[in-house]
């Protein structure tokens, strides 16, 4: 058990280090890349279209930072077992380590960016409220657990159904536009609101905005679907990975 944790931690650090050493300005790009990504949206919506006043940039960044965490975890984790087949043929490792490593890497990266976001919010006149200290860690933990479940589930299934990758990629694109990154959920037509309420990412983003921008507790009631999905995905993913633990090394990958 201790050994598994040690493997996860060192493998995550090694992959981050490898990622950094590839570029000329490794460490710089590792942090700058997500910031540039946010800057694109800042320029388009904040500067070019001048959407709805000054606070729209903070509103947008809240959504984007959280989205990027979800998006990169899901993408990387879903391919994690497939990409590590060479290792899986050589050594026995509990397969759960691979999606967890993807999750750890994207979470470490997210925490840097999140700190920068907090700095930006403080610099633009938002102040720390009690919700930052009580509700925020809970919300972050909930999102982390949901992503862990999704990561395990997709990582388990994709090696057997590689076609699923296309669905995941396009599903993420769809979710990107439907998760309320650019708009407030209460501007959605009433007839569609029930469907939007089922999207955990939309509820998360709304929750982060309530905490960070309005200094209020999020509407935990609206996060109920996310909590249920979190439990389902963790159970399903954990079960599948345990069930197929030794099946991956039998599969020939083309």
């Amino acid at each position: 058990m201790k050994r598994t944790f040690e493997f996860i931690w060192f493998r995550s650090l090694a992959e981050i280090r490898a990622d950094m050493s590839r570029g000329f300005l490794g460490l710089f790009w590792w942090i700058a890349e997500p910031i540039l990504y946010m800057a694109v949206f800042f320029v388009v919506f904040g500067v070019v279209f001048q959407q709805r006043g000054g606070d729209y940039v903070a509103f947008l960044l809240c959504g984007l930072v959280v989205w990027k965490w979800f998006d990169s975890t899901t993408r990387n984790a879903s391919m994690s077992i497939t990409h590590n087949m060479g290792l899986i043929y050589q050594v026995y490792l509990p397969k759960v380590v691979f999606p967890v490593i993807a999750l750890v890497i994207s979470t470490l990266r997210f925490s840097f960016v999140f700190i920068i976001l907090i700095g930006f919010l403080l610099a633009t006149g938002h102040s720390v409220s009690s919700a930052w200290l009580t509700d925020l860690p809970l919300l972050l933990l909930l999102q982390f657990l949901l992503m862990a479940g999704i990561a395990m589930t997709f990582a388990a299934i994709v090696p057997f159904v590689p076609d699923l990758k296309f669905l995941i990629d396009n599903g993420l694109s769809l979710l990107f536009f439907l998760s309320g990154i650019f708009f407030r959920l209460d501007t959605v037509p009433v007839a569609l609101r029930d469907y939007f309420a089922l999207n955990p990412v939309a509820s998360f983003i709304q929750g982060y905005r309530q905490i960070l921008l309005e200094g209020q507790s999020p509407d935990w009631h609206s996060l109920l679907p996310a909590i249920v999905m979190c439990a389902c995905f963790i159970l399903l993913g954990g079960l599948l990975l345990r069930l197929w633990d030794r099946a991956y090394a039998k599969k020939a990958f083309l």
């Binding site: 050994r3 040690e6 280090r17 490898a18 050493s21 050589q90 050594v91 026995y92």
Partner: protein, 237 residues
């Protein structure tokens, strides 16, 4: 008394073990291909057992099975609780943009060592791999031989209860062949348990006490090295 007991310690036992691989035939149809069938033998502490046979008869599958990488579809494998069985793998988990030293740590942890263990024998690793100052250069800059030597010397630090060696991974690598033969000789001397898969009958005969000859996924013959080699070479001719 305990001497007597350990002399006959059975580390791994296979009873009528079979392994099948799924073969896809259409969108929803698949059939099974039995790579191994009815394999039964035991591995006793201190012995070196060889597995011989032509290409594609299931030798590598047998090693993966014993290393617990795959599980049997029929029969059962019992191993003594707590023993460590490791398939000698070169460069397991190497990341080529990292340095040799960083890779040695990662590879060691991947193979089941703790961080302290691998770091404490780092000097031995560097020395055995014969790569000198290159240890702090990215592995991507290494020659194939240097990579193989580093991988090998990391794997050597693991020192498991049962070491599984697949000679097929040495194809075209003289260094690996020589060093692995040397390691097996040392293990034979030290009374450590080893399984060697090879299609080199001479090598198997020189190193192993018992041999298993596999043909089409089944044990064709199992016995002392001389008898099996004579029969195996006779069948080839």
């Amino acid at each position: 008394m305990s001497e007597l007991k350990t002399a006959q310690r059975e580390l791994i036992r296979l009873d009528n073990v079979g392994v099948s691989y799924p073969q896809r035939q259409g969108l929803f149809r698949s059939s099974e291909y039995w790579a191994l069938q009815d394999i039964s033998f035991n591995l006793v502490q201190g012995e070196t057992i060889g597995v011989i046979g032509r290409n594609g008869v299931g030798k590598t599958t047998l090693l993966r099975l014993m290393a617990n990488i795959i599980s049997p579809d029929r029969g059962k494998i019992t191993s003594e609780p707590g023993i460590r069985t490791v398939l000698l793998s070169l460069q397991a988990g190497f990341i080529s943009s990292l340095t040799g030293r960083q890779n040695a740590v990662i590879s060691g942890i991947t193979l089941g060592l703790s961080r302290q263990q691998i770091e404490s024998c780092m000097e031995k690793v560097v020395e055995f791999a014969e790569i000198g100052d290159f240890i702090d250069q990215p592995v991507a800059t290494y020659s194939a031989g240097m990579r193989a030597r580093l991988g090998f010397s990391v794997a050597m630090q693991v020192d498991p209860d049962v070491l599984l060696i697949d000679e097929a991974i040495s194809v075209g690598d003289e260094v690996f062949r020589k060093k692995s033969a040397q390691v097996i000789r040392n293990r034979v001397k030290a009374n450590e348990t080893t399984v060697l898969v090879t299609h080199n009958a001479q090598l198997a005969g020189a190193l192993c006490s018992r041999l298993i000859w596999i043909e089409e996924g089944r044990i064709s013959m199992l016995g002392d090295a001389k008898t099996v080699i004579a029969a195996y070479l006779g069948a080839q001719a």
